[in-house]
Symmetry: D2
Subunit: 377 residues, 4 copies
């Protein structure tokens, strides 16, 4: 039976002087031969279900034949998790700066072309190893800025240092009220068929600030650059964001299902010797640019009518809007539909909204994952 | 067909100078013969379902034979409703003072005994009328304090002025995550059998600051005082707080059910001529002192296991508590039960809690409403 | 040289499992002969200056001839201190429940009369000791409630246990924007002449929920009860709240001044052998009931004109009120005065206010402390 | 005497249905011959002093010989101004999305090159007029997106529509605790000598999302593009952000000073016929890239020692850091200095800070404005 080691990393200090620490669990087989894995959860404070998935995954990993180093970081944002506002967790953005905790990762801006020129004589494996070392040093340097770095940058950089050491990275999130979905970079689209997740957002390979992008972007750039020089280099790192249904919810049975989905992928990649078959289900995808937001056209009380994760045709209502200040007029109560077919993926958590509140996010131009890439219209 | 009049009351002013207004709808039959009614909703900002109930009730009242003045005030706390914090409504307490918006009503502290001595020669009807006038004047005086009154006091007093004019008062609330229940004063316990609400908290007749108490307490004191002087006076005002399931939720179908429950009571009191039969259901009650809070014994991630509104025996788990910082120890995951049988009524909205967070409120020493009053143990 | 011992008390646990701890420093002379002292600071998160005063006081105590046990608790509310909202500390009330952190102390409700009957045969010293033990046990019991207690109650009770062990208690606070003032119970009014604080609010001896009251009230009740039985008992405990000017401010020089004021009182009580003379200054007082709040009569932008801690006559403006939404009307800009002479003590921290915001607190019917008790009007 | 017209623009709707409106004041001389002016204040909720400056400026404009249309918008962000959290205004970012209210302006992304090709036959004046029309249409289109736009985008776009109609734009802000300073685009550096503001941050001409950039960037791009085609075009719009000292502060006397500074510039531009001489003072500047942030190296209580707006040498302390949890160790209290000479411009508003809090912003590589451009090192 495998038992993980545990230690804590220090990611900051609260005003009273209390250390902000995060538990790190690591499975370390004797002669690791498979790709290393890093999994974190709960970077947004209200998105707790990933902790339960890590729990179930660890319980299972204890009884597998393990070929890789697997590092697991639950409770990855103590300041976000502990930030309550009324009965809810205000853990999406730093309460002081307003910056999204998942947008503080470091966009390595060293000159990759110059770096490649200097290191291209290495074989692939040594090249990867040197590149990884460069990413890690660059993070370390960011931490040691003599004028300091912000609270959110420190947290992100500490997590990034853990992540950069792995070949496979998972960032476990949830939506507000949401069905399961995931973000998958275009180059790694084959991975999406292993998880217990029916909806897939196909991301371009760019950096927009989130953890998954921080993990794979430098590697993808490296591989692109090599290609321009006539060398075929795999993108050495795969990174995914899984959105495990709704926030403020722990469901241990559901956590088992998602732990199994992750295991199916890890089995496929040789992280464990056991064969784990992915669940059979229809999986749907759309390009990220076709993942659309619908904003409240007016203020009001919202009944979210469209079920999440089900196709919504143009004649079905997305939501109803109640205006008690307009009773007796035509605006007192209305149903609102969208002008194109879509699959609603998530909706806002509150039922009383200002004009302009983001109410729904829906997938449009959806195709079966197995049909990827879709024909261009 | 009856059509309500609409006007707005001014309950304050925001920093920018914008008036805080609340819509008031009033049905006014030509020769009102029944008891007057006042219904308000959404004094706590996240508790929106009462608005939907008022909507459905108004739609029904339009088509009844109405004998009473009925005043309806949805959206009764604009500052609370509009106060967002992240994806939720932070509408339970004034964000500046921290005071619960439902604890700012005026506890009339004039000398009732002295008042009664001066007015006891009136017949019942005139006595009631004079007493009501005194309550209203005392509210008006509070509003005109030359040193001002607080934002919350102003709001509460303006609502109180509307409420004091009625014989029957409803304050529509919800719990955080909650099943339907209601607060009913002891003297008016017979009313509880009319609503579509299975759980009843029997309140003592004291003032603790909430709207229902502000409405009936002075009248109950008057009646008690008269009794000491040998005069039998009904408590002239009935007031109830209905808790219409969970906050941050609009459900129009469910609103119809609760509108009907209120109609059944109004029908019984002669407010409408039509006969509306209450829904047949088992209704359970307990004394307010037996409505108990369970606080988080430690911090952790909570799976709320006990279904709301169902009997929970001592061998059934109330909740589970996941501690990812304690993985590998006996504290990593545990089920927690209570030591007495109970009916869980509501639980906290967030799944990640500090030690000492109020997790559940449960009814204990529960009896069938029809068995009221219960035998003392 | 005296060196304090240090330990930490555990007052709760954050959602992530992190312990909430508070540092405790204690000077323990070998054979304490003087009254014991307890000093805490920063129970409201933004009111930090008390920490600096404790720092300076400890530095001085290290070099005195000390006769008493002195316990000092800075940073007394880690959850409040660490709760940021934008650029400010939202540390006045529990962000979840809205309850003021300084209103959660335990109002011992055991039957003092019964207790006295059983213990009256003791001499004064034993009686005090037994009473103190009863207060401490009652706090311990509160902590061990099998259904738990709230986060705020736990914090308050843990502090109360430290406080109940002392004969002299200080709770160090600040106002929002404030000059120095203090709350002094009526029976201990003589103490007020020692501190470096010019304004004194004379409190009745009742419990209203704050730390100082939690400390002295039971003792004052005991002494009152004994008196009804013909026994003269001193109120054994003195407790004071000092308001050390404005929140969100650390001023080390000013901290020295207030540390000296406290030392002057401790010197007078024999806690230290050295003679420390109180600063000569005019000290003014008023009864707590004459400490009045002025609420914003309308919304607007406020220029706080009245200097804090200076007499304001009726023809001097308290503040000006700018209404940019009313430019061109008579309401665009106005000066506001009070109708009685007063001394403004503190004002609100923000310059843009809703109608009903508490803008100023002022002392009225002020007298020189040395003239206490004032003649009744 | 000139009197401004007043109207209100609607920039959104609160959950209760209440319109979010902003007052607009406009002076409209009969035959305007000078450049038009737009001035807004209070886009960040706590930054109120700009309202007072607009008040004083309007009072003065009433008595000038006015040659231009001048539009003034105080209270420009009602949601931000009214968003209180404890005793402060939480008005820097949208409480729902966390996005800075001053980063939602529209970055016009139409193809300027294509536009210029089509319109280059116009003379300068017609070209400007057509370009302005294009900017306005593009804003209108953003507002009419059938899927809606966010609350913050709507507000920003409505303000932008007002701003795009002017030739000179001022956005009035403040720092947290701050001395007066301003942001000035490089191409308009000559303007900086007119205001009553001693510190100038010289901005590159790029778009980073703030109002001033949204105003001048498209015009600067147009002028740059024309230059590549051999045509000399002025940058037709000047836009500035003035930082009028500290937030949460109204000071009517100081407002007069800044109103005069703005008048001096308007006089120079011919907006008013009267000659207003700028105040004589030393004005200092640095490039924006040399405006540096210092983050809290550890947590603690901060005494902000460096006076704002005064040169700080490397041997002078910037701040002191008190650690009451470390009493008795070398970390209990320390002074912190910077390693280069600088002028501290602003500091954080709270005195109790987490590690990584932005404590100070300081100008480095400072030069006298009259020496612009500085020699490159």
């Amino acid at each position: 039976m495998n038992k993980p080691n545990k230690w804590e990393i220090n990611v900051g200090e609260l005003a009273t002087g209390q250390a902000l620490t995060i538990p790190v669990y690591q499975f370390t087989p004797e002669n690791p031969s498979g790709p290393s894995v890093y999994i974190q959860a709960n970077v947004h404070g209200a998105e707790v279900q990933g902790n339960a998935v890590i729990f179930e995954l660890m319980k299972q990993l204890e009884n597998t034949h393990l070929n890789s180093v697997v590092t697991l970081v639950p409770l990855a944002n103590p300041m976000g998790i502990n930030q309550k506002s009324g009965e809810f967790t205000l853990g999406r953005f730093d309460p002081i700066t307003g910056i999204n905790w998942n947008r503080e990762y470091y966009d390595h801006n060293f000159d990759i072309e110059y770096w490649y020129t200097k290191n291209q004589s290495h074989n692939d494996s040594d090249l990867f190893s040197a590149f990884r070392q460069t990413l890690l040093s660059s993070c370390q340097q960011r931490l040691q800025n003599p004028w300091g770095i912000s609270t959110g940058q420190r947290l992100a950089t500490e997590l990034q240092i853990l992540g950069h050491q792995a070949d496979i990275v998972f960032d476990l999130h949830t939506g507000p009220k949401s069905c399961k979905h995931m973000y998958c970079p275009e180059y790694a689209i084959d991975a999406a068929q292993y998880f217990s997740i029916p909806y897939v957002l196909v991301m371009p390979n760019d950096f927009a600030g989130a953890m998954d992008e921080a993990m794979f972007c430098p590697w993808w750039k490296l591989s692109e650059l090599a290609e321009t020089q006539g060398r075929q280099l795999d993108v050495a790192v795969n990174a995914f964001t899984l959105e495990l249904a709704s926030q403020e919810r722990i469901d241990m049975n559901d956590a088992k299902i998602d732990a199994n989905g992750i295991l199916a992928y890890l089995s496929h990649k040789g992280v464990i010797t056991e064969k784990v078959t992915p669940v059979k289900m229809d999986r749907y995808a759309c390009q990220l640019e076709n993942y659309k937001k619908f904003y409240a056209p007016t203020a009001g009380m919202i009944e979210y009518l469209a079920p999440l994760g089900e196709k919504l045709s143009v004649d079905q209502p997305l939501l109803s809007l109640l205006r008690m200040d307009q009773y007796g007029t035509k605006d007192e109560y209305q149903h609102i539909s969208l002008d194109i077919e879509c699959i609603p993926i998530l909706h806002f958590a509150s039922a009383a909204v200002h004009q302009g509140t983001e109410l729904y996010k829906v997938m449009t131009d959806v195709f079966l994952l197995e049909h990827y890439p879709p024909l261009k219209k």
